[in-house]
Symmetry: none
């Protein structure tokens, strides 16, 4: 990314508006000769591509498969190699936990230990989410705090939970206790920096108490912690880009990521239709909208090619509404690819559309991976998308005399 | 390149295999309207391009002509601007000298000095290689060591040789003694850092003795040294990429470069046929193969357009053998261009083919500079080739949560 001092110097506040439409994991791989985008009937997205300048983005680096954190940070204009988001923080955001600066969070697993304390199942047989909730309530009741540090325990799905420590002087430089393989004891709580030794004591004491509470709750008689982390210190989008940004998303994790960079999170319901309604209703109040479509990624992860195609086709119907609002810039892209063929995130670059009266166009006339690969924007790091959008919205002044 | 800590974190050991076929200097410039690649009849390489995703690589930076060191380091995944290989080291590798950590090497020239010690021919009339060998044996016999530092002198071709100093505390920060122009005295041995002053004394003493030994061997009565250097500290490919890599090459320099990054150098004979036989015979023992074809570069350097074309056509016949082995990833590219028209290395980017069942394809159907320039990989730094190959071989995990 451009150095922050340069960004602060050249960005300007204007009334022009930008809509960044992120279709999660939209890029794919061919099944029967066509990718999900090639198989979908999506006349409005294709028409938008025809009227735009197109390209391909690498979220982190060629060949690197990004998690959701790096994938989004890049699109928000933050170098994902510079600004890391810990696993604990991301999990906390994913279950809608609001974090304060200095809070320490870790991702937890319920696990099964044998009488000697050796882990025989790292996921406690994937206990039902209902059981997980009960156990989290039990732990919360029994361990409200440790040595003056407040403890919060919140369930995720199946065997997953998040533990949050709230207090002064916490330090995340602590190794995972998850041994990663069955047949081993949990790893001891080990600080990797001397400043984290007091925090390590707190975590150790928490684990001792938790194991005492859980001892009769076989198969969930142990817990494993990993991804100790704290909120990263991210300068806000208002500060560096002079934007007043809003987030329209249906899943907690993306709302949490948006909050990290200073977006206001709007009420957006749970469907694409409701998300576009939220865009219309709040259109006057902001100059940057991040609109997130989740289901493409979910179907990709499930290996459901046609499910993913359907979501793209559903989304396509809302593109005319977007054009009616007439923002100065519309960008349509993915945060990473999720080919149904690979059933997971992948490293393949994302098709990218930049629509603006202030931009050149090219001869790309379809929103597909192969068509965008021939676009006039070429292949570029996703982190550059933000300055391209700001430029097309005439929100950047000349650099240098 | 990606930071090494990131690479170490996300790369994983898997049984999948990668073959990197480097056709040295393969990129060219048109002579009579066609480049060497365009003039060659190479149906198998073109068919491979058709089934692959293609692009162009810049070895170091757009416009920069790389030597063999930077050209290869980039392809091996090491940023050539970060990891330098000194001329002395490269020459030593080129004559098959095996270096230890801390050894100091320099490239030497036999030269002609007049009675006042002024250099009148920097190459001693390009003495025959046989004469060179005799003189090196003589020097070796007369100067086995200097002040406890062991000396090794080995001939190259014509007037070229390599001198190696072996001992404790050697430091390469010494200026060349080669004055670069005739009509001047050799430059004095000058350390550029105080820590190199003891080493400079050793080199001075060596030169005094050598000139005494050579004084009656006109025209080779002087020597000039340049490129003082030591083995760079390169983390191994095993360490950062978790690969078990092998090198199949016929020239010492490329074997030496491969050893620098931790490859096992296989017996590979002297022909392309023998190289592919070595690949087949050792296929089960490694998960990464670097196969180097030298003659394209040699003919390019000679300005022999059709000689270079012929090598490409010969190589083409072995592509089906490569496909039969069915590695997860095949990459075909050059380390730099060597257009016969320019009779030397050039800055022109390299055509690049990435073949893998896990990759997208594009509509490139020929392995040529112009065709690959339209490939969906676009134009990218050669150092990114490694992460692209690892990704396509499914040897990288997700970055970030």
């Amino acid at each position: 990314m451009l150095p922050i001092e340069v960004l602060k110097e050249i960005t300007v506040k204007t009334p022009s508006k930008i809509v960044l439409l992120v279709i999660d994991g939209v890029g794919g791989l061919p099944v029967g000769g066509k990718t999900e985008l090639e198989a979908a009937h999506k006349p409005h997205l294709d028409e938008l591509a025809r009227r735009s300048i197109c390209g391909l983005t690498d979220p982190v680096y060629p060949g690197v498969t990004p998690g959701s954190g790096p994938g989004h940070l890049g699109l928000f204009g933050y170098d994902p190699l510079k600004y890391g988001i810990g696993r604990g923080v991301l999990e906390a955001l994913g279950i809608g936990m609001e974090l304060g600066a200095g809070d320490l969070v870790a991702r937890g697993n319920y696990a099964t230990a044998d009488p000697k304390g050796i882990i025989v199942d790292r996921r406690a047989g994937r206990i039902p989410t209902e059981k997980n909730k009960e156990l989290c309530e039990l732990l919360q009741r029994e361990i409200p705090e440790i040595e003056g540090i407040r403890v919060e325990i919140r369930p995720g799905k199946e065997h997953r939970f998040v533990v949050r420590f709230i207090g002064e002087g916490l330090d995340a430089r602590i190794e995972d206790t998850d041994p990663q393989k069955e047949g081993r004891h949990p790893r001891p709580v080990t600080p990797t920096h001397p400043d984290a030794s007091r925090t390590a004591e707190v975590v150790r004491a928490f684990l001792v108490k938790a194991h005492r509470v859980l001892k009769d709750y076989h198969p969930a008689n142990a817990i494993l912690l990993r991804g100790f982390s704290q909120l990263p210190a991210l300068p806000s989008m208002g500060e560096i880009f002079k934007l007043t940004p809003a987030c329209i998303a249906t899943y907690p994790m993306y709302k949490g990521l948006a909050r990290l960079v200073g977006m206001e999170v709007l009420e957006a319901g749970s469907t694409i239709e409701e998300e576009f309604a939220a865009l219309r209703e709040n259109y006057d109040r902001f100059d940057f909208f991040y609109l997130h479509v989740k289901q493409t990624d979910s179907f990709g992860e499930d290996g459901n090619f046609w499910g993913k195609v359907k979501v793209i086709e559903e989304l396509d119907q809302y593109i005319p509404q977007l054009l009616e609002l007439a923002p100065e810039v519309i960008t349509v892209t993915g945060d990473h690819s999720t080919p149904a063929l690979l059933r997971g995130h992948s490293w393949h670059p994302n098709p990218f559309i930049l629509y603006s009266p202030n931009e050149r166009t090219d001869d790309v006339d379809r929103f597909t991976e192969a068509a965008c690969a021939k676009g006039a924007l070429g292949r570029f790091p996703a982190v550059a998308a933000m300055t391209l959008m700001l430029a097309a919205a005439l929100k950047m002044e000349k650099f240098g005399a």
